[in-house]
């Protein structure tokens, strides 16, 4: 299947999708963003899939006193506490982050924490992951449990010798234990299917053939004047199953699938600090077309939304790998911090969901 059957850019349509029974998943920076979006708009979601991601506001775990600015501190936290802590004790502090999440909710910046109580979570860390260490992901589970998500609602897997990746059963993907782009590894099963089955219970087997449409839409209408801070691509993608297209599904569910760093459709490698625009993007839309989401979505009438982030490295925004913002590079002003309902990226992605639900 090609990315867009007729090669056209369309406006994202409305399908009267469910307003509560939606879900979200992501890998790496997409997983950190999954946690942020899940908490910021918990009223809209029934569950989340987190592959190699840390807890909410992880980048604010430790603020040393003195001359270290909050911006510098968030970057240091994200690199050395939320990704590569030296020991388990120097990983994120779940208790402190739970308190911060509760304070953030009380301040009205995110939805009510109580919405999480019946949500279902799939959390995964590969034991060979050397990009986001397992100690960090273990804290994500602890974080959600302390926020009141029952243990029986959480599937936590740390038993596979997987590198930093979303796992597929595609023979052409990287070996399971590797930690290298495009971070799509072959482990003999489709992790996206496990995520959706855990969130939604028994689902029909994935479709053999895709009979719906993969649409390419213009994301810029959802960014508006926030575009300069967003580090988001011009285009996003959405898979619309055939029965939803035909209008025969009442309130279809929406799943938002967030790619990780270096996985957006227009990701361009930075060589010696310069975007290598002379060459084609190395991975294109592999995350969108080969990770298995669309096939299980087709047979179960689930719309899959693939928002896209892109690399920006211009002094104001330092995000060369096209990661989702979980350390504050897109902070526009103090009223809309990167983790809040009004954060540039969270607002844009939720506006896309609102369009599908309208």
């Amino acid at each position: 299947m090609v990315a867009n059957a007729n090669g056209k850019i369309v406006q994202l349509g409305s399908y009267k999708a469910s307003k509560q029974d939606n879900s979200i998943s992501g890998l790496s920076s997409g997983a950190f963003m999954t946690v942020q979006l899940h908490l910021a708009r918990s009223a809209s979601f029934a569950g989340a899939g987190i592959i190699a991601g840390g807890p909410f506001r992880c980048a604010e775990t430790y603020q040393p006193s003195g001359l270290v600015t909050p911006e510098d501190s968030r970057i240091e936290n994200s690199l050395y506490i939320c990704m590569n802590p030296l020991t388990p004790q120097t990983g994120p502090d779940a208790r402190r982050l739970v308190a911060m999440a509760r304070d953030t909710a009380e301040a009205g910046l995110i939805d009510d924490i109580a919405n999480l109580a019946d949500d279902r979570l799939y959390i995964f860390t590969g034991s060979e992951d050397d990009v986001v260490y397992s100690d960090v992901v273990a804290r994500t589970r602890q974080f959600y449990e302390m926020l009141g998500v029952p243990q029986q609602n959480i599937t936590y897997r740390d038993d596979l010798p997987a590198g930093h990746s979303i796992i597929t059963d595609n023979p052409e993907d990287s070996d399971l234990e590797l930690n290298q782009p495009p971070y799509i590894n072959n482990g003999g099963f489709m992790q996206s299917h496990d995520i959706l089955r855990h969130i939604y219970g028994d689902l029909k087997a994935p479709a053999e053939q895709l009979t719906g449409k993969l649409l390419c839409f213009d994301q810029r209408e959802f960014l508006g004047t926030d575009a300069p801070w967003a580090s988001m691509s011009h285009y996003g993608y959405a898979y619309i199953p055939s029965r939803v297209l035909a209008g025969s599904v009442k309130e279809p569910r929406v799943h938002i699938a967030l790619h990780g760093c270096k996985q957006g459709y227009n990701y361009t490698d930075y060589v010696n600090g310069r975007a290598d625009t002379a060459n084609q993007p190395p991975y294109g839309n592999r995350y969108i077309t080969t990770t298995g989401y669309n096939h299980i979505a087709e047979s179960n009438d689930i719309i899959v939304l693939y928002p896209q982030a892109e690399g920006t490295d211009n002094g104001q925004i330092q995000n060369p790998d096209g990661c989702w913002d979980w350390w504050g590079y897109s902070n526009k002003d103090e009223n809309s911090p990167y983790y809040s309902r009004d954060a540039v990226q969270i607002k844009a992605i939720h506006a896309m969901l609102d369009r599908l639900c309208a």
Binding site: Y62, P64, Y80, Q89, T90
Partner: protein, 163 residues
């Protein structure tokens, strides 16, 4: 492939545009050296702050090293640092082995341009290896600074009465 222009148009207008662009780039970046110096100063100041903070916390923690939990975690931190250094050392040796292998293939060049290209590649790869080793080492130093400060602050906070 280079991102820099490799040829200059023969058309005089193109040449003029190139000169204008270069002049504008120079003009808009006249303050760049000053900004660069300020950034370097800020980062040195930040590292110095970490050092002072961590030094003070080390003094305060010294009295707690009798605590088996603190002692055990302190030892784990040191073991983790040694492990990271060992991994970096392994990466250095692997990188050098690849360079030696590439050097051995220089003799397979059939033309002078190919030989120049292969030699250039080897120089670029050597520089890339040196850069990545240096960057990784500095990153490890920053990692130790941040993680030690964070760990020590947690241990010291445990002494303070809950509010």
């Amino acid at each position: 492939m280079s991102k820099f222009p490799i040829s200059v148009g023969s058309n005089s207008i193109e040449k003029k545009e190139g000169v204008v662009a270069a002049t504008m780039a120079l003009a808009s970046n006249t303050m760049a050296p000053l900004a660069h110096a300020m950034t370097a100063q800020r980062l040195v100041q930040k590292d110095a702050t970490h050092l002072v903070n961590n030094g003070a916390m080390t003094m305060a923690l010294a009295a707690k090293l009798w605590d088996p939990v603190v002692w055990s975690e302190w030892t784990q931190l040191q073991a983790a640092i040694v492990q990271r250094l060992y991994t970096q050392n392994q990466d250095w040796h692997k990188g050098c082995a690849i360079l030696v292998e590439d050097y051995g293939q220089l003799r397979q060049a059939n033309t002078m341009s190919k030989l120049m290209e292969k030699q250039g590649n080897l120089i670029s790869q050597s520089a890339a290896l040196m850069t990545s080793q240096t960057t990784n080492f500095v990153a490890l130093l920053e990692n130790v600074d941040v993680d030690f400060g964070y760990w020590a602050s947690q241990k010291l906070q445990q002494d303070q009465p809950a509010r």
